[in-house]
């Protein structure tokens, strides 16, 4: 069933897009409404996803179960998601330093001294470069 997952996902998306397009109003070809183009896209997506499912079905014997997504990728992604609320509340420096600590460590830098040094320097230099030289309005959070 997993091998059909992407085809089914696109199929569901096409149905959703079609329903939303009708809600937006299709108009008439001479005066297309806001939903006109999305509806045509939904039809295209429906046709393409059906073809994809058919193609997967007809080749299922010769195909493997599909690629494995790296678990370590999701281990990185969760702290990145956590970083977003911290970025606003704690501020750039306080939120970025632990994130960089984590990223350097998890991506293979072994000695803790180097990890600390890398995180410290990259956080500070990026703050200086983007905040001062490029004038980017980075949140100062608790420090500010």
């Amino acid at each position: 069933m997993m091998i059909y997952a992407d085809g089914l996902l696109w199929l569901l998306l096409s149905v959703f897009l079609g329903v939303e397009s009708i809600r937006l109003g299709l108009g008439v070809p001479a005066s297309p409404g806001s939903g006109f183009i999305p509806f045509l896209l939904a039809l295209c997506l429906f046709a393409l996803s059906s073809l994809l499912i058919y193609q997967t079905f007809s080749r299922r014997k010769s195909r493997h179960e599909g690629p494995r997504l790296g678990a370590d990728v999701f281990c990185i992604f969760c702290p990145l998601l956590l970083y977003i609320p911290l970025f606003k509340t704690l501020g750039y420096l306080l939120a970025t330093f632990p994130l960089m600590l984590f990223l350097f460590r998890v991506m293979g830098t072994k000695p803790w001294g180097w990890v600390l040094f890398g995180a410290f320097v990259s956080t500070l230099l990026s703050y200086f470069f983007f905040g001062y030289i490029l004038n980017l309005n980075l949140p100062s959070g608790l420090i500010g």
Partner: protein, 516 residues
């Protein structure tokens, strides 16, 4: 005469200290991105795009264009020294370039790559200068149906030449088009797919999506793969960057042919630098008196593809500036940058934004010269940079991705959009979906929708408008043929013998760069 006057005017703009600095910064960053495997021109331009929002349009495009053609130069260094293409367009350079390096001729290979790139890049810029104006005159005759058909053609070409299933490529294009519809419908003034999120009313920004799809997903893709760096043996002994007279005699025709082929391929929407280097390498092998020596370390095998990819990078600007059609995803990002700065590429671009066009063209001459100067004496420095391990580069790239997407609107929601795009890009790429058509369709979406709706309004609702205008019919017919060819090519590729020969060639790119 008028062209020379315009060019001189352009030189005045390009030589202004600010623009000159951005040109230098662009080509230096471009070379750096080309040298370092892991992040190519797409990721680099995507990262820099938000930072250009506060610049004027000319400076921004000079910087981004510099990054683009700079990567074409830099990519050859990694290919020759490490047999790992720093940039996808340098895959063919690995074949002979690395063999030359193993024979102790790394200096000559790097030298001819730099000189060939310079000659081709400059010739390509002359071509751009000469062809853009006449093509604009033709494009002025185009109406909405022709533009819609051209954009369909661009999408079809990109989908048909990209690797993997053509159906998956088309799905990506539809999804990209759909994402571009989020926000206010410009014709009806009505919100679409925003679901009450105020941030989305002005639509999704290209910056965070491109950074996520090409920057973050690239880092995630590289995580499981170890890039074997073995530069030490060759890197310390490089000498003799100036090619000998014999090298020049052997290379001059490959450089000339590579330039012409690369430029022509670059002008075709969807053509791109990779296809240009492939075709020119194959062509040289055909023209050669000793085709069996290709792949053993001959200088023609370096000169031709390196010239072709640089000429193609200049040629790619022609459809962008004259028709408003990006020939590759990188051009789509540049189109986005131009639009953000209020300069809409298309037939009126040359008359409305003359200074911008000629300023960028002139900066390309200067940039190519800078690259020649940068590439030869600084090779030892680039070699040192190659020793920076991926475990240090990857966290830094993620940090730049965060800062790049935040800088779009100083809004943390853009960082979230970037991360979601990054994860989506990773999952899609792992499932053999190409994200390039998604990005191109995202940029072209609003223009395509407008052209399509305007066409229908013009014809009073008749879809026959797309089948009765000769230019539209011709363009759509070519698109259909290409789609059929793409399907046929994939069927042929399933032949086990061809698969085997492809996997042999794939061994060249040990760094995980895949052939199309």
């Amino acid at each position: 005469m008028e062209t020379i006057g315009n060019l001189l005017g352009g030189l005045q703009i390009a030589l202004q200290p600010v623009n000159l600095s951005y040109c230098f910064l662009g080509v230096t960053l471009g070379t750096l991105l080309g040298v370092l495997p892991g992040i190519g021109p797409l990721g680099g331009i995507a990262l820099l795009l938000p930072l250009t929002y506060s610049m004027n349009a000319t400076a921004a495009i000079i910087l981004l264009a510099g990054v683009y053609y700079g990567t074409q130069y830099g990519g050859s260094t990694t290919s020759i020294l490490m047999n790992v293409p720093g940039e996808i367009s340098s895959v063919m350079t690995c074949l002979d370039g690395h063999q030359m390096a193993l024979k102790g001729r790394a200096g000559a290979a790097l030298g001819i790559a730099a000189f060939g790139s310079f000659i081709a890049g400059t010739a390509g810029t002359i071509g751009l200068m000469l062809i853009a104006d006449p093509l604009t005159q033709i494009a002025l005759k185009f109406g909405p149906p022709e533009f819609f058909a051209l954009m369909v053609l661009g999408l079809v070409i990109l989908t048909s030449i990209s690797k993997g299933s053509i159906i998956k490529g088309l799905i990506m294009a539809v999804v990209g088009f759909g994402l571009s519809l989020i926000g206010i419908d410009a014709m009806a003034g009505r919100e679409r797919f925003t679901y009450g999120i105020v941030h989305f009313t002005s639509g999704l920004d290209l910056g965070p999506i491109a950074i996520g799809l090409f920057g973050v997903s690239e880092v995630l893709m590289n995580m499981g793969e170890s890039v074997k760096m073995s530069v030490a043996n060759i890197g310390s002994k490089i000498r003799g960057y100036l090619p000998s007279l014999k090298d020049w005699r052997d290379s001059i025709m490959p450089i000339s042919r590579g330039t012409v082929v690369g430029f022509l391929v670059g002008t075709i929407p969807g053509g791109g630098v990779l296809l240009a280097s492939f075709i020119s390498y194959a062509l040289e092998k055909k023209f050669s008196k000793h085709p069996e020596k290709f792949g053993t370390g001959i200088i023609e095998g370096v000169a031709a593809p390196e010239s072709a990819n640089n000429a193609a990078s200049s040629g790619g600007f022609i459809p962008l500036f004259t028709l408003g059609i990006p020939s590759t995803v990188i051009m789509a990002l540049l189109l986005g940058a131009l639009m953000i700065h209020g300069a809409q590429p298309g037939p009126l671009f040359l008359s409305l934004h003359r200074e911008l066009f000629w300023g960028v063209v002139a900066s390309m001459y200067i940039g190519n010269l800078m690259l020649l100067i940068l590439n030869l004496p600084l090779i030892p420095l680039w070699v040192q940079l190659l020793r920076i391990p991926q475990r240090i580069l990857s966290p830094l790239i993620i940090l730049f991705c965060i800062l790049g997407s935040y800088s779009v609107n100083n809004n943390v929601l853009d960082v979230l959009v970037m991360m979601i795009a990054g994860l989506a890009g990773y999952i899609l790429r792992k499932n053999q979906y190409e994200v390039a058509p998604l990005c191109l369709a995202f940029v072209l979406g609003p223009i395509m929708e407008n052209s399509f709706r305007q066409s229908l309004i013009l014809s009073n609702g008749s879809f026959m408008i797309f089948t009765t205008r000769p230019i539209t019919v011709a363009i759509l017919f070519i698109a259909l043929l290409l789609l059929a060819y793409g399907g046929f090519r994939r069927k042929k590729e399933q032949n086990p013998r061809i698969e085997r020969s492809r996997s042999d060639l794939k061994n060249v790119s040990q760094g995980g760069v895949e052939l199309p």
